[in-house]
């Protein structure tokens, strides 16, 4: 079963630890955090559970159709108050419990002082193909 682990720049439940933004950390703390993420993905590849991971820039805009022959309408940059996705990891695991366990481990990524950041991560099941046997 595939699950999406979604990381947010902001939005979601109130953070339990205030780590400040990453640019205020020491370079060593940033390196340690990035290395943790890399090691985590490598470990999941090793266990045969990794599908993919991507990070997103906080830049960008909302875009929509505005009628025939007209250019699309954009709305950006994103409001400070809105939920903002920072990146994701897709995992393929045997159970929801395993997905929660892995997200819990990922949320322990180190921040200032090497302490776990306790970041809220969103875990979402993929919709699959329908099974062959239904009745």
């Amino acid at each position: 079963m595939k699950y999406l682990i979604l990381k947010h720049y902001r939005g979601g439940p109130a953070p339990v630890v205030d780590c400040g933004s990453m640019d205020k950390w020491t370079p060593e703390e940033v390196d340690a955090h990035v290395q943790f993420m890399r090691d985590f993905a490598a470990r999941l590849e090793e266990t045969g559970e990794f599908v993919e991971g991507q990070a997103l820039s906080p830049e960008g805009a909302f875009v929509r159709y505005d009628g025939e022959g007209r250019p699309p309408v954009t709305d950006g940059p994103f409001a400070e108050t809105k939920d903002l996705i920072a990146g994701w990891m897709v995992i393929d695991v045997d159970s929801w419990d395993r997905a929660v366990q892995l997200a819990g481990e990922l949320s322990a990524a180190p921040g200032p002082g090497g302490e776990p950041i306790h970041e809220w991560l969103e875990v979402r099941p993929f919709l699959t193909e329908p099974p062959t046997v239904t009745e």
């Binding site: 590849e45 045969g48 599908v51 329908p130 062959t132 009745e135």
Partner: protein, 381 residues
């Protein structure tokens, strides 16, 4: 070149290498490499004796790997010449591989992957594509599984229940990549049925054939889900149905009922009805009762309620839902259907919408959303 013929040779060739003294893990790796070479070279240069070619190529790969390993450890390689294969017949080897690859200590996804590679003769790339994961991830999953079962003897009978479960999972996964997993599951179950004398293996094979027979009618344009009652029955494969029914009847005559035979019996009763309204729901309910006794499964209880609704009316169906866990994925969909049949369109529309939110697949979600829209349209003045 016939690729499925090549794939059929894989378990027997692994067996030959193991009997020559290779461990299962390295034998399986060597055969996989030989298989990839065969897929590459056979189309232009087909061998006269495919099995002998595969054995020779795999044995060379095995010796290469063993030599590399020996020199890495600074040791001499003891196995240098080609020892004669032992006397054990190849059919036993293949059966043992089924048991080993579906060993109860393996996680389900690993057992599935290993079975498809070592017994099914698929390449890691094909399995990865079928399950939509990167090839490196699938390769790791397989090698971890092999490490986990390393040292287990190949000559012991295993747990047939887990083997059937793995084959059922592969069948239920359907189609993905360039491999038709449903057809592959049927091929592997057919082969297993030829190697064993267990009514449940026949039951599973019958179940697969009966469902496969309806495959073309199960989806409409754009992958749209077509429910059983609305399927065009003229598109059902009567040859597969006849085969499934014959296999099932022979299995049932052995009088050792199991869950797959009971499921196949339900599928056979559906296949038997020339139209949805000619379905023998009373007998289907009886089979669900048997299935419930055998499994105690909440999903069976839920599906039984649908059958009761058809046999004795929607009120009876709703009553049969008492005690069924409302948290089951298709619970809302079933209640929506029964309430609609009972005449409560308003409630049915709300429940269809709720069911769509709880759906676990895109075609199912879209189908239930359409059902909600249809019920609301009927409500509108």
């Amino acid at each position: 070149m016939n690729e499925s013929l090549l794939r059929e040779l894989v378990p027997a060739v692994i067996g030959v290498l193991v009997r020559r003294g290779a461990g299962f893990a390295s034998a399986e790796d060597a055969v996989q490499e030989a298989l990839i070479r065969a897929l590459d070279t056979w189309p232009g240069d087909p061998p006269r004796d495919p099995k002998a070619w595969l054995v020779a190529a795999a044995w060379r790969k095995f010796l290469d790997a063993a030599r590399a390993e020996a020199s890495r450890r600074g040791r001499e390689l003891a196995v240098e010449t080609e020892p004669p294969a032992g006397p054990a017949p190849a059919t036993d080897d293949t059966l043992r591989l089924y048991f080993l690859c579906a060993h109860p200590t393996l996680p389900q996804s690993s057992a599935v992957a290993l079975t498809l590679r070592a017994v099914g003769g698929l390449t890691t790339r094909q399995i990865a594509a079928a399950y939509l994961v990167p090839e490196a991830t699938m390769a790791q999953r397989i090698s971890r599984a092999k490490r986990r079962i390393a040292g287990l003897p190949l000559d012991q009978p295993g747990d047939l229940g887990t083997v059937l479960r793995v084959l059922y999972l592969v069948f239920n996964e359907g189609y993905g990549g360039d491999v038709d997993l449903a057809a592959e599951a049927i091929r592997l179950t057919r082969q297993l049925a030829a190697l064993t004398d267990e009514p449940e293996v026949a039951g599973l094979l019958a179940l697969m054939l009966l469902h496969h027979a309806r495959r073309a009618s199960r989806t409409g344009p754009g992958g749209r889900l077509v429910p059983l009652a609305e399927q065009d029955r003229s598109r059902w494969d009567t040859r597969l149905i006849a085969e499934g029914v014959a296999i099932l009847q022979a299995a049932l005559a052995r009088d050792r009922l199991g869950e797959y035979q009971a499921q196949a019996a339900i599928a056979a009763l559906h296949a038997d009805a020339r139209s949805a309204c000619e379905t023998d729901w009373v007998q289907i309910v009886e089979w669900y009762d048997e299935l419930l006794l055998l499994t105690g499964s909440p999903v069976v209880r839920l599906n039984r309620a649908v059958a009761v609704g058809e046999a004795d009316g929607p009120r009876a169906g709703l009553a049969a839902l008492a005690g069924v866990d409302p948290g089951l994925p298709r619970y809302a969909a079933v209640t929506a259907y029964l309430h609609e049949r009972a005449g409560d369109l308003q409630l049915a529309a709300e429940l269809y919408a709720e069911a769509a939110r709880a759906a676990t697949s895109v075609p199912e979600r879209d189908h239930l959303t359409r059902e909600a829209a249809r019920a609301r349209q009927l409500l509108a003045p």
